[in-house]
């Protein structure tokens, strides 16, 4: 997993819960990296799971909820670092379609060792968007946070429903409906 995910995650934790908690969860988890992350490095995916679980323990909050919050946080980071991806389209659905078809493609060019999810997206005739997340890393909640923030960004209002297609969460279907 790319270092940016770790540095941003720990940044968020520091901002929301203070460096004390960051230090605690690093100390709690038995990390190969010893919790030393740089945005340009690459680290085992299991470490982010470890950190998340320990955070959940520490702050007594649902890990899924925390992951979703991380998604929301990450969105702002992406927006600040890669504004061109947001400017090239003018509505939320178009942006969401572009993740798999364009953004992650470009990401892979920049970081050939990135492990990215697969998104299948389609729009039904009544204007509903169906987006299916597929990834062995089972981070659909992160996706949900990112999706929510994306819709907000384009000043649209939607309902988002998620539904496991596979029980372990490696395949999740998002149904996104515009309101009004």
């Amino acid at each position: 997993m790319k270092g940016i995910v770790f540095t941003e995650f720990l940044d968020m934790v520091e901002k929301k819960f203070g460096y004390e908690v960051v230090d605690q969860i690093i100390e709690d988890s038995d990390l190969e990296s010893k919790g030393i992350y740089t945005a340009v490095g690459t680290y085992p995916h299991s470490e982010v799971v470890n950190l998340l679980m320990n955070l959940s323990d520490r702050v007594k909050l649902d890990p899924t909820l925390l992951l979703k919050e991380f998604g929301k946080y990450l969105f702002d980071t992406f927006l600040a670092s890669y504004p061109q991806f947001f400017n090239s389209v003018d509505n939320a659905f178009a942006f969401l379609h572009s993740i798999d078809r364009h953004i992650h493609v470009e990401v892979l060019k920049l970081y050939p060792d990135a492990t990215l999810p697969k998104f299948e997206s389609e729009e039904t005739e009544d204007g509903t968007m169906i987006m299916t997340y597929k990834s062995p890393r089972k981070m659909a909640a992160l996706a949900e946070g990112l999706i929510e923030k994306s819709i907000q960004y384009y000043k649209e209002e939607c309902t988002i429903q998620s539904e496991n297609q596979v029980e372990d969460g490696s395949e999740v279907k998002f149904t996104i409906k515009r309101i009004g």
Binding site: I26, G35, I36, Y37
Partner: protein, 699 residues
């Protein structure tokens, strides 16, 4: 304390993270450096490759440039406007200008004025019709003012961007052009020489034939007078010599005409078997006198009439049979006519003349058919003759589509044979009769004008006419003839062609322009050249009589052209006689022998035509196109009824012209019709009378 530990750990983590990041950056920088290095290497090798390619290109370019510069042909390129962009040294030399003077100039700039139009067409064709390659020759003017001919193949080349240019391979063909022109001139000279020769022959034939005609004619007349034995013998010798001379002259003329390709084939329908029988009769007598057996074998043929040149076939056989009799002193002569094939349209017949005469030497067989190549001079002395007979026969056989062939054993005899394919001829009912019969049928109510400047010829004809009781008058030249025609009333004119004061052509035109009556005018001509006959016909003559002629020839012409009441029955039994200036075929088809109907129509025409023409004239002069068109349409058919089909066509032209605004055309066709109607009226008039006379006589 704990907070301090945490802070320490945080700083430591950040320090290590920075170090890690630096390491990563370091390794990335190294990677980058290596990539850069290999890129540089790649670059160098690319440059190497480019260098190599460039060198190869330069080499091949210089190779081609060498070829182009040393080519013996002119090689040049022009842009799409035909302006020179390149020209090789040969080209520069041919054009005679410097390279700077040529490049940028249009090709047209150098081409002679007279060929500019063709040049433009050539390039436009090349450019637009996408013609890939086309050869053409142009004359150009070089700097020194001389004309050079350039023959060139120009290619239209399309560049990838769609624009075009031309490249050309050309050659200076000035030398060839000069040779060509010299050849042309030489050819023209040769043709002129040949024409002069022919003219000479024609003139000579005239000069010789005219006195010869008199000699033969006079000897005929002399024979009819009271003679003692000696005189009679002399006359016979005289007549024989004259005939021989006549034969020689016509042989030479025939040969020269055939050689000049001027021998005409006059196809007529005649009875082949009758021709053979007649010849056989003549030669059988001669053969029998020499103590020879003469036999004729003729295959049975259904329709013995063939369509061919009777005169020529007769001459071929006379020459072959005559030779056989001449060169055989004992034994037998066979004339064999075999039918090879007969189908619906043609019959193929072979002719063989076999003798037991002297034969022909092996070495002479090849040359025997050449002119003036009698076997030996010795032969000529012994047997006489011109030595042209076989040559003429052989040429005439070829003219009729066959080949004269020869089998011979020296001392044993010869056999000449040929095969001809004939079209079937039309069967005729009755044939020529004797002079006596003709003479008897001529009545003294027939009046003939003889126009002839030669006194001896005058005498010859007049004596014959007297003998037959035909009235006659003489005119010594064309002028006298026109006067005589004006003052007298003649049924027939014999007209010599070359006469002093006014020649026969002019006199005929004058007589025709008087338009009194369509009197037959028969040309008396010593020339057998087609061109003279053509001229005579054009001046308005009706027929020809070639000098020298026999009394029988003269009688036959008189019979043929005298008015219907004097014609014998055999002629009257044939088709209704329409004037040959009318469309005879269409008239015969129209009336199909119904003379009364024809007479009706001719009379109706004469009564109507003036009024109808007047109405058309009025409509045209008032510029009333609608009524003019109606009138043209109305009168159209009446012309066909009298064989003036040409005027019907003019009417149709006029009708079409009236649909347009082209007044010039309308006037043109109207005048054509008007003139034609006025001019043809006398013909219709006299033909109407002729039909009437004919009907009165037969009913």
């Amino acid at each position: 304390m704990e907070n301090l530990d945490i802070l320490k750990r945080k700083l430591e983590r950040e320090r290590l993270a920075r170090k890690q990041a630096e390491q990563i950056l370091e390794s990335k920088a190294l990677e980058l450096f290596e990539v850069n290095a290999s890129l540089q290497k790649l670059n160098v090798s690319l440059e190497d490759q480019i260098d190599q390619r460039t060198k190869a290109l330069q080499e091949s370019e210089s190779k081609y440039r060498n070829v182009i510069n040393n080519a013996s042909d002119i090689i040049y390129t022009t842009d799409s406007n035909g302006c020179f962009t390149f020209i090789n040294p040969v080209g520069i030399k041919s054009f005679g200008f410097s390279e700077e003077e040529i490049i940028g100039k249009q090709f047209a700039h150098f081409v002679l004025e007279s060929h500019q139009k063709q040049l433009l067409e050539y390039y436009i064709n090349l450019r637009d019709q996408n013609k890939k390659n086309d050869y053409y020759e142009f004359p150009i003017r070089s700097k020194d003012g001389e004309t050079h001919w350039i023959g060139q193949n120009v290619n239209r080349v399309e560049k990838p961007d769609g624009s075009i240019y031309f490249n050309a391979v050309a050659r200076d063909i000035t030398l060839r052009k000069i040779t060509e022109r010299q050849l042309e001139e030489a050819k023209e000279k040769a043709i002129r020489a040949q024409q002069a020769e022919q003219q000479f022959l024609a003139n000579m034939s005239h000069e010789i034939r005219t006195p010869l005609n008199a000699i033969i004619g006079m000897s005929h007349l002399l024979k009819d007078t009271e003679l003692d034995a000696k005189q009679s013998e002399y006359i016979d010798i005289l007549a024989d010599s004259a005939s021989l001379l006549k034969g020689l002259v016509s042989d030479i003329l025939d040969i020269s005409k055939i050689d000049a390709g001027k021998a005409e084939i006059n196809e007529e329908s005649f009875d082949l078997i009758q021709l053979i029988n007649k010849l056989s009769k003549t030669f059988a007598n001669r053969a029998n006198e020499k103590g020879l057996i003469f036999e004729t074998h003729i295959d049975p043929i259904q329709n013995t009439f063939v369509l061919s040149d009777k005169q020529w076939l007769n001459q071929i056989l006379i020459n072959l049979i005559g030779n056989a009799v001449k060169f055989t002193s004992s034994g037998k002569i066979d004339v064999v006519v075999e039918k090879i094939k007969e189908d619906e349209k043609t019959k193929t017949v072979s002719f063989t003349v076999k003798d037991t005469g002297v034969g022909i030497k092996e070495e002479d067989k090849e040359t025997i058919f050449y002119a003036f190549k009698q076997a030996t001079t010795e032969t000529r002395r012994k047997y006489g003759g011109t030595g042209l007979g076989l040559s003429i026969a052989s040429k005439l056989v070829s003219l009729l589509g066959g080949t004269l062939e020869l089998d011979s054993i020296e001392g044993k005899g010869s056999q000449f044979y040929f095969t001809l394919q004939f079209k079937h001829g039309r069967i005729e009912e009755k044939n020529a009769e004797s002079i006596q019969e003709i003479g008897q049928k001529m009545t003294n109510s027939l009046s003939v004008l003889v126009v002839e400047d030669n006194l001896m010829n005058q005498k010859y004809i007049l004596t014959l006419l007297d003998k037959w009781g035909i009235q006659h008058n003489i005119a010594n030249n064309g002028l006298e003839a026109v006067e005589a025609f004006n003052n007298g009333n003649y049924d027939l004119i014999f007209m010599d062609l070359s006469m002093p004061i006014m020649d026969g052509y002019e006199a005929t035109s004058k007589i025709r322009s008087l338009n009194k009556k369509q009197i037959p005018i028969i040309a008396l001509t010593a020339s057998t050249f087609l061109s003279k006959k053509q001229l005579a016909l054009e001046s308005g003559m009706t027929d020809f009589l070639a000098k020298p002629f026999t009394p029988e020839d003269l009688a036959r012409k008189i019979k043929k052209h005298s008015l219907p009441q004097y014609k014998d029955d055999s002629v009257q039994n044939s088709e209704l006689h329409f004037d040959t200036r009318l469309d005879v075929d269409s008239l015969n088809e129209l009336y199909n022998g119904d003379h009364k109907h024809a007479l009706d129509m001719f009379k109706t025409y004469l009564s109507l035509v003036d009024d109808e023409l007047h109405m058309l004239t009025q409509a045209i002069s008032k510029n009333n196109k609608a009524s003019a068109k109606k009138q043209a349409h109305k009168i159209k058919p009446i012309f066909t009824m009298v064989g003036l089909n040409q005027i019907t066509e003019h009417c149709e032209d006029l009708e079409r012209a009236l649909d347009t605004e082209n007044n010039e055309m309308i006037q043109k066709f109207f005048l054509l019709i008007k003139d034609a109607v006025i001019h043809t009226k006398p013909i219709i008039d006299s033909n109407t009378k002729e039909i009437e006379l004919y009907l009165n006589k037969t009913i």
